[in-house]
Amino acid sequence: MRRILILGGGTGGTLVANRLRRVLAPCDADITVIDQDDQHVYQPGLLFVPFGLADPGEITRPRHRQLHAGIGFRRAAIERVDLGSDVVVLDGGTALEYDLLVIATGAQLLPEETEGLEEGWPERVQTFYTPAGAASLRDALARFDGGRIAVNVIDMPIKCPVAPLEFCFLADWFFRERGIRDRVELSYVTPLDGAFTKPVASAALGGLLAEKGVGLVTEFNTGRVDTSGSQPRLVSWDEREVPFDLAVVVPLHGGAGYVSRSPGLGDELGFITVDPHTLQSAAAPNVFAIGDAAGVPASKAGSVTHFEGEVLVENIQRFLAGEPLTASFDGHTNCFIETGFGKALLIDFNYDTEPVTGHYPAAVGLPLLKQSRLNHLGKLMFQPFYWHGLLPGRDIPGIGSAMPERGKSGLAASREHATTAGSNRAS
């Protein structure tokens, strides 16, 4: 009997547990998921809460209910992982031995690492990255009757890098619907040198911001949030300032707290050091990571986690059978970007190619990098699929882990660019 411990009962932990339970006989493997709470939040839904389009209650379900029969669930906080002795120590001292460990504890928000951020909370500074924050922001937006709103990403990496852009697009729609858009000055303040990380998508999304009258402030590394005076402002390390009446901030992200208490497990930010293709830990062969917790050069997004899941489960089976790991994650990422007014655009890319135009997943399909009503419907339809398809570990018909190339234009040029830009990539 192999003991498989899965730390974290979110998207990655749940789908891996369910997939593993299906392929491993109960007499061969004991599977236990550990999480500090029993609230599974459908995180893409948080974006809609501030605009009254979703309620925190309807996007939250019990974690243990998403796990199939034959999977244990234990509610506990984690103190540390001891890679040398294959033990997870829980808060309170209980030690659990494992034969195989999957780390899926995601990313946590670190508002305390930015000077002044918590002082302005929640009168002047809000976030929509937590259920409570999103609900509080909903009330703040309902009260807001004019002035400057700064949407600020403190630094990368963050969960769902397109979400703050979507927030800008939806805010533009929200204030137009309320008839006060002319009294609201919206700006997007980012540490990146454009609206997004990848050039083609960055140009398209930057154009969309301009079209909607959202100001774009780039290469702004927020050093502190100053809400002490009469005019609150974001101040960058190089002393530039963005004044605001309401700041919607995406705080710094880091890995789960126990990672830094577990020597060898993670990087400086607490993300797990794994091979970007096999998802196996660099420090211990019987440790794997998935989703936001993994320190791989891909977006922290549910689609990445989903596509990683298929690869991870195959590699875990191979590892348990003593075979070499052959399944390889290609960095496949797929995001619907809500652009307001019932439309959305879709981007699809991987480690080696950037998002391009065309159709997904083949020549007949959803339009890529182009606003359409169909993409918006795709985004809406995703929530039921999340609970009933993705978490149970089902594949999407016609869409595998590897990024599809059919239906895309300019892919060769994009790959050339990505290769040039990524020529310094670690192997």
Partner: protein, 105 residues
């Protein structure tokens, strides 16, 4: 790939002036690259950062972000901006002769 000459030696750089081959870099080139970036005299603290950048690149295949620099280089973000006012992560990478930091996705 454009070529430029530092300390009398031709090196290849990318469009935005970052080295494409870090092995072409020598310590003698650093003051010249720094001057072009508006940095007068390289102090001991500058060198601490430059050496850290080279080390990080060798270990990880990319230069560190400003956040990681602040956490691990032993120099605070505030000081880093005093040393490299135009943006420490990029400027220090350029002076240290490593490719443009990949950043995060």
């Amino acid at each position: 790939m454009p070529n430029v000459t530092y300390a009398g030696q031709a090196v290849s750089v990318g469009d935005d002036g970052f080295f494409t081959d870090p092995s072409q870099w020598t310590e003698e080139m650093a003051p010249e690259i720094a001057r072009a970036e508006g940095i007068g005299q390289l102090t001991e603290l500058h060198w601490q950062v430059i050496k850290f950048m080279r080390h990080e690149y060798q270990e990880k295949g990319t230069g560190p972000t400003i956040r990681i620099l602040g956490k691990t280089s032993g120099v605070s973000i505030k000081e880093l901006y005093q040393l490299f006012p135009k943006g420490p992560a990029k400027t220090a990478a350029k002076v240290a002769g490593i490719p443009k930091p990949r950043g995060c996705i």
